[in-house]
C-alpha cells in the first residue's frame, strides 16, 4: 500500500486515479456541544458536498477511506459525561464517542443512507495525507472504483495536549522511553531547527516571509479558520516577537487546533471524465519509513534531511518527472519550521539543503515563479493537515479562487505530517 523503497520505480497506476470533488465543512475553534456541529455531522456534510461537487451518484460510491482518529491532542477526558442527547441524534455504533470524538467508517455509512454500495472501508492512519495514499492505491489496485476520502477534526474546550498521560505527574508506560524530557509537542522540531540554524548559519527570523506568505494565502482560503474567524495578517514583527513555546519554535510555529472536516471524491481516470469537475490526476505517491537511531526514536536533523531527500527522490522518480517540473508545492507546515526540511528535500527550483530560508526572501507568493505553500497550510488556516491537499486539487482545476496562482498549475505536491514517517502525493493536470 505504501511506497517506501528508495527507488520504487514508476508508479504502476500513474494517471489512472483522479481527484474530482472537494467538500469542506467548518471551521470552529472548539466544539459547541451541539449535534449539528459535532465532528460526525460535519463529516457527513463534507462528504455530501464532495459528492455534489463531483456530480457523482452516491450509489456509485463503493469506497470510503478515512482517519478514524479526529484529534491528536483533545482526547475525551476520562470521566467526562458523554452527551447522550447528541449521540441519540445519529445512528449509533457500539462506541458512544463515535461521531463526537472519533469517527468510524461504520458510523459514516450508517448515517449516510445514500451510500448504498460502499464495500471497501479502509483507514488512513493519522492524516489526510495517509488517506489519500491509501485511496489512490486502492482505486489503482481495483479494490474500489469510486471513493470518498475523509479527514475530520474535533476540538474540545480546555488545553490541547494537556490531558491523558500529559496530565500525570510522572511518565509511565511506553512513553517513559520516548518522552523523558517532557516539553511541548514542537520540542523535537525545535531541536532539529536549532541544529539546522547552526549547521547553515541561519536565524529564526528568516522564517518571517514564509509565515507572512502562509497567513496571507490562508486569508484567501474561505474554508479556513483565520479567514472565517480572525482575518488578521501576520506581519514579520508579530511573528518575530511572539513568545517561544520551545525555542526556536514560537507560538506561530505551532498551529492552532480547530474543528473542521474535508472530503474528496476520488475515482478512476476513466470514470472521472464523465464527472462535473476537471480531474486532477494522481501521478505518484510515496511514503517515508525512516527509523531514527537516536534515543527515544527522536530523529536528528540529518535523519530528517535524509528522509526528506528520499521522499523527493521517490516522488519524482515514481511520477516520471524531474523536480523542476513542479509548478508549486504544498508540503506540510504544522509545525511550520519543518516546512524547510520538506521543501529542501524536493530539491526543486534550485532549493537544496540550507537554501530554503534564503529562498523565502524571494517571491514565494502565488504570483511568483514557484509558489511556496499557496494553500497557506496549517499556518494560514488552522490545524487540519488538509488545506495543502485541497489547494493542490483546486489549483490544478483552476478553482483556487483568490489563491489561484498566476502561472499555470500543472504539477503540485503535498503531504505530511512529519519529515520522517509521512505520506506524499504528486498531482497533475495531465495523466502523463
Amino acid at each position: 500500500m505504501f511506497r517506501t523503497a528508495v527507488h520504487p520505480g514508476l508508479w504502476e497506476h500513474k494517471g489512472k486515479v483522479a481527484a474530482v470533488g472537494v467538500g469542506h465543512q467548518g471551521t470552529a475553534r472548539r466544539w459547541d456541544g451541539t449535534a449539528e456541529n459535532s465532528v460526525g455531522a460535519w463529516s457527513i456534510a463534507a462528504c455530501r458536498k464532495a459528492i455534489a461537487d463531483a456530480g457523482v451518484n452516491p450509489a456509485d460510491i463503493d469506497g470510503l477511506v478515512l482517519d478514524t482518529t479526529t484529534t491528536t491532542g483533545a482526547h475525551w477526558p476520562a470521566g467526562r459525561e458523554i452527551p447522550m442527547d447528541v449521540v441519540a441524534k445519529f445512528n449509533q455504533t457500539d462506541d458512544p464517542l463515535d461521531g463526537i470524538a472519533k469517527l468510524s467508517g461504520e458510523w459514516i455509512v450508517k448515517n449516510m443512507p445514500e451510500l448504498t454500495n460502499v464495500k471497501y472501508i479502509m483507514t488512513g492512519p493519522g492524516c489526510m495525507s495517509a488517506c489519500i495514499v491509501v485511496a489512490a492505491q486502492a482505486i489503482g489496485d481495483g479494490l474500489c472504483h469510486t471513493s470518498l476520502v475523509l479527514k475530520s477534526w474535533h476540538n474540545l474546550d480546555g488545553r490541547y495536549y494537556q490531558g491523558g498521560a500529559n496530565a500525570e505527574p510522572t511518565i509511565s508506560g511506553p512513553a517513559k522511553w520516548t518522552n523523558p524530557w517532557a516539553g511541548p509537542a514542537s520540542l523535537g522540531t525545535a531541536t532539529q531547527f536549532q541544529r539546522y540554524m547552526y549547521k547553515y548559519g541561519k536565524s529564526h527570523d528568516l522564517m518571517a516571509p514564509f509565515m507572512q506568505n502562509s497567513r496571507h494565502n490562508g486569508l484567501l482560503f474561505p474554508e479556513g479558520y483565520w479567514a472565517q474567524h480572525r482575518p488578521e495578517e501576520l506581519p514579520a514583527e508579530d511573528y518575530i516577537n511572539a513568545r517561544w513555546v520551545a525555542k526556536p519554535a514560537n507560538l506561530f510555529d505551532n498551529d492552532i487546533p480547530i474543528m473542521a472536516s474535508a472530503a474528496y471524491l476520488f475515482t478512476t481516470a476513466e470514470r472521472a471524465r464523465d464527472l462535473k469537475q476537471k480531474p486532477v490526476y494522481i501521478l505518484n505517491h510515496a511514503s517515508d519509513n525512516l527509523k531514527a537511531r537516536g534515543f527515544g526514536g527522536f530523529p536528528t536533523l540529518e535523519e530528517c534531511e535524509t528522509a526528506c531527500e528520499n521522499v523527493g527522490t521517490r516522488l519524482f522518480e515514481g511520477a516520471g518527472l524531474k523536480p523542476d517540473d513542479l509548478s508549486f508545492e504544498n508540503m506540510y507546515d504544522g509545525f511550520s519550521l519543518f516546512h524547510v526540511f520538506h521543501l529542501e528535500g524536493l530539491r526543486s527550483h534550485g532549493i537544496g539543503k540550507g537554501d530554503a530560508l534564503d529562498a523565502f526572501k524571494g517571491d514565494i507568493s502565488i504570483n511568483g515563479p514557484f509558489p511556496i505553500s499557496p494553500s497557506g497550510g496549517n499556518v494560514g488556516s488552522g490545524r487540519t493537515r488538509f488545506w495543502k491537499h485541497t489547494d493542490c486539487i483546486q489549483q490544478i482545476q483552476g478553482r483556487a479562487g483568490a489563491r489561484q496562482m498566476k502561472l499555470p498549475a500543472n504539477v503540485g505536491v503535498s503531504g505530511g505530517p512529519m519529515p520522517t514517517g509521512g505520506n506524499f502525493t504528486v498531482w497533475g493536470s495531465s495523466p502523463d
Partner: protein, 131 residues
C-alpha cells in the same frame, strides 16, 4: 489622574478573560470602560499578536493605554510608574508572568466582580485571591 489611594494599572489577558476573547471570559467591555473612566490605566497583555490585540480594542471602541505580549509584562511595569499593577488572566502562564513582573494577579473567575473598584476607597490591603 491621581485616584484616591494611588495610581493603578490593570492588564487584561484576552482569550478566556475578556468577553471578546476566544473563548469568551467574564470581564465585559463595560467593566474595562468603567475602570478606564474611573482613572485606571488599562491595557491588554496576551499571547495574541499586537495586530490582533489592537483589533480587539477597536471592537471595544476604546484606545488601550498599553498593549503587550504576555511575556513582556515587565516592560509595562517599566513604562508606567504606578502604585499598583494588576494582571488578570485564565492560565498558569498569566500567573507566572504576572508574578515575574511584580504584578498582582487575579484569575478571571476572581476578577469579574471588579474587586479593583475597592481600591478607589483607599483599600490598600491585599486584593481578592492574594495571600
Amino acid at each position: 489622574m491621581e485616584l484616591s489611594g494611588g495610581r493603578f494599572l490593570i492588564s487584561f489577558d484576552i482569550d478566556g478573560t475578556l468577553e471578546l476573547g476566544d473563548p469568551p471570559g467574564r470581564i465585559t467591555t463595560e467593566m474595562v470602560k468603567r475602570a478606564r473612566d474611573l482613572g485606571f490605566l488599562v491595557g491588554s497583555c496576551s499571547d495574541r499578536s499586537a495586530t490582533s490585540q489592537k483589533a480587539i480594542w477597536e471592537r471595544m471602541n476604546m484606545e488601550a493605554d498599553f498593549i503587550s505580549l504576555k511575556h513582556m509584562l515587565d516592560d509595562v511595569k517599566q513604562r508606567f510608574d504606578m502604585h499598583r499593577y494588576l494582571h488578570i488572566g485564565d492560565r498558569d502562564l498569566d500567573q507566572m508572568f504576572a508574578e515575574q513582573a511584580g504584578f498582582d494577579f487575579l484569575w478571571e473567575h476572581e476578577a469579574y466582580t471588579e474587586p479593583w473598584l475597592d481600591w478607589l476607597n483607599g483599600a490598600g490591603g491585599p486584593i481578592a485571591g492574594q495571600p
